[in-house]
Amino acid sequence: MRVTAPGTPLLSVRDLSVSFRTEAGLVRAVRSVSYDVAPGEVLGIVGESGSGKSVSSLAVMNLLPGHAEVTGSARLNGQELIGQSDDALSAVRGSRIAMVFQDPLSALTPVYTVGDQIAEAILVHETVSRGEAMRRAVDLLHTVGIPNAAQRATAFPHEFSGGMRQRVMIAMAIANRPSLIIADEPTTALDVTIQAQILDVLQTARRMTGAAIVLITHDLGVIAGIADRVSVMYAGTIVETGSVDDVFYRPRMPYTLGLLGSIPRADAGERQPLTPIEGTPPSLINLPTGCPFVPRCPMAQDICRREEPGLLPIAGREPADTQRAACHFKDDIEQRQLTSRDIFPAPLPSSDAVRSVPREQRQQMLVVQDLVKSYPQMKGAVLRRKVGEVRAVDGVSFDIREGETLGLVGESGCGKTTTIMEILNLGRPASGHIAVLGHDTARMSGAEKFGIRRDLQVVFQDPMASLDPRLPIGEILAEPLRAHGVAPERVSARVRELLTLVGLRAEHVNRYPAAFSGGQRQRIGIARALALEPKILVLDEPVSALDVSVRAGVINLLERLRDQLGLSYLFVAHDLAVVRHIGNRVAVMYLGRIIESGDVDEVFDRPAHPYTQALLSAIPLPDPHKERARVRIVLKGDLPSPANPPSGCRFRTRCQKFANELTEPQRQRCIDESPALLPRTGSPDHLDACHWATAVEVL
């Protein structure tokens, strides 16, 4: 660790601005950003896509493309980084500042082994022998938790899973004991349990090297757990900064307030209405004068349009207080102690009329029983032959009753997408049954299937990909109507009705999907699904592709529509917080099976299966106090291949209970016998698939 005089910042960024010239005009990606990073501290930078959070850090590293115009200053221990030649900076990069990217595959060279690459990173900055460098590389891989480090060091990047690759990146980043690590969305592409592992490794790396970390992310939960200070970026500039506690518990800039109020909480028992921030982040081309948040801010006054507020301390605080907010009315918010619900209009709580009827008396809308879907595994390039099969879905059962939402959750590769595709295909499953509104799909004729499609509709994850870019949205919405023979004179009226229903303007029928923002496009996707007045909606990760601030609006819309139109949802998601918010029931999948299901509150408050427990404990909560006090269950390793699942309980290779708590004979049972999905915790409705299930509170 380098010695720095106390109080002097390690990295000091002043008036950093970055702009790009494009065909459309000058993009001011970063506007006059200043911040300090003290030695050993963790600074979180949060913002949505396009807020400039990544660009500002890339500028510090001088990693922007040549046509970027960078002005201002960034000093590392007093040494200026901006405007330096690449040569001068390469001595700094890697040795004193290291970077961890979102996508480690593109940051690692595919043709060298990871051991070689780490050794190379050491050799560039230090004069040691190759053997010594290699030995240290293996040590580092071991430190970041790569099993069999010596052996894995000789493997190539593509032979690692996403999480393991990110570990390699971290090993490489700390190879030269840098004093600053910039981590740019290091866990965004990863599943939640893997994210927990990586954040853990990042903490270890920090403890070992004493490096300061700049953690760039869009996830407030991640920041709450690991950062000391946080800066919130919006439209290319910092709009609020301060200690984590200040910003999370006493936000004074409406955007921060709205952001915090718009995220669903996995630990919130009674449903809090989410406060959506209407609109979308502004375009950075030709940004108007004044506060960039004006179009979305319910508090905006004339002065906001005239003058952009500076990032200033809050009146009445102690001089040592470091919180700064960029809002003309920050002091007002402070004095009146406004919360997000005071500023942003929250929707009225919806009625539970349908769901007040006991569950057993409500109609079964969708029943899936022992569903199996397998893919043949092929081998050979010329003569392809079947060598086995992968059971992507292996005996899944659940039912959805009228008016309720079933959240189907699990990490990538668990089979949730395959399950819904099987349902939507309305085909005859290889084994098991699917019944939509009481009709078994295996016995349906073509005409019946066509008819049932009216009642079963779908909303996809990526609103860009699910709308045909070549058709105006009016045509897109008319398509299901025409396909089902709705009279032409009714079509255009219905299209307008649908647009209004999802909160869009009916005049926009002639616009093309590209003219809409992500959140608006998802509303169009929802409108299309509702065109035929279906009874069941399959929602495939409907908000995960959206920016944090617009998610809340879409979630609220889905809730409102469900209760207003009496819909039932099958809600597929990997984000458990969203499921807790919107779901009534939840089913957790692991490796093609449901391992726990039941009422949402029951499962979240008293999870019985070790996997559910780990999953819940891995969710970062946007609450610094809680987050610091929590003990995480960090799962070992990656998901096993579905082609070759472990015998007995499929989770046993990663099960913390199996590893730490069970006795030998108990373990044997896990290995020999596959646990059935049964009620084991007393409540008849709460099922789990663990021989040794005990309900534990983890949130």
Binding site: F20, P282, S283, Q461, A465, Y512
Partner: protein, 315 residues
């Protein structure tokens, strides 16, 4: 060319630099599809050669169809006072040994060649699009049957078959000849279309349409083919010149357009021997052929670059 093409969709990459999701609802909303076409058009205009090509094609069209009013002679008219005359004020391109006016003949040939090229290209591309998309979308038995057909046609010697068949449609309309030419021109494109359909079929908007109950053929014509419009446009353009050349080749050997009608091909075939002795008989039609094919190829290249900004790597 084929490997740089992807299914279109979304704003062109060049539009998105820097702002990520920046251009939101507050930004002046513009008609994105129109702006994409505008962008393509702007990129096309930036290429001088392509514009020159387009202008030349238009001029050739104009002159070919206006020629009956321009020159004093019609293509089937004989001037008994002028046999084998070199170019002169009354016979701009000279005359043949029978007294035909070479300018009128060339223009008539140009008309035929243009029509054959355009019509044939349209048919070939339409066929390729339909067959390729059906094979790719439906898969299974449909795919096997269509792919077999494609492979079969690919190995058949097109030239030979048309040559063999040509006596049987002698005396019938030359349109049959165009159909035959097109029938041997679509297979490669069909394979490309099939490949692109396979990937488009997995796109969510196609799934969405399917789950709404939209029939397959409708999905193909509404969602799949429009999303490869750029490929099809480029393909059609390139087909124009290949078909013109194919017609020339066949006519040269006497299998194409039948007398008294002429095409550039029959003219070149008939007067190739005269290239050294009476050069005007040969060189005028040949020059027009070269100019026409060159111009169309320039337009095709320009379109390809305009649709695919990565093809040339400018900015």
């Amino acid at each position: 060319m084929t490997d740089t093409l992807q299914p279109d969709g979304g704003p062109a990459p060049g539009l998105q630099s820097g702002t990520a999701s920046g251009s939101g609802a507050q930004a002046p909303l513009e008609d994105a599809a129109a702006s994409r076409l505008q962008l393509v058009w702007r990129r096309f205009l930036r290429q001088r050669l392509a514009i020159a090509g387009l202008v030349v094609v238009a001029l050739l069209f104009g002159v070919a169809y206006l020629s009956p009013y321009l020159g004093r002679w019609q293509y089937d008219q004989l001037d008994f006072t002028a046999f084998l005359e070199p170019p002169s004020a009354s016979h701009w391109f000279g005359t043949t040994q029978n007294g035909f006016d070479v300018f009128a003949l060339t223009m008539r040939g140009l008309q035929k060649s243009l029509v054959i090229g355009l019509l044939g290209a349209l048919m070939a591309t339409a066929l390729a699009a339909t067959v390729g998309a059906f094979a790719g979308y439906f898969g299974g038995a449909v795919n096997t049957a269509l792919v077999t057909l494609i492979d079969l046609l690919m190995v058949l010697p097109a030239f030979l078959i048309i040559a063999i068949l040509s006596p049987s449609f002698r005396g019938h309309t030359w349109l049959i000849f165009v159909v035959l030419l097109a029938a041997f021109q679509w297979m490669v494109t069909a394979r490309i279309v099939r490949g692109m359909t396979l990937s488009l079929r997995e796109r969510e908007f196609v799934h969405a349409a399917r789950f709404m109950g939209v029939p397959g053929w409708r999905i193909i014509f509404r969602h799949i083919l429009p999303n490869m419009a750029s490929l099809l446009i480029i393909d059609a353009t390139i087909n124009v010149s290949s078909l013109i050349l194919a017609e020339v080749g066949l006519s040269f050997f006497g299998f194409g357009v039948q007398p008294p009608d002429v095409s550039l091909g029959t003219l070149i075939g008939d007067y190739a021997n005269a290239a050294l002795t009476f050069p005007w008989e040969f060189y005028f039609p040949a020059a027009f052929l070269v100019i026409l094919v060159l111009a169309i190829n320039l337009v095709g290249d320009g379109l390809r670059d305009a649709f695919d900004p990565n093809a040339q790597g400018h900015h």
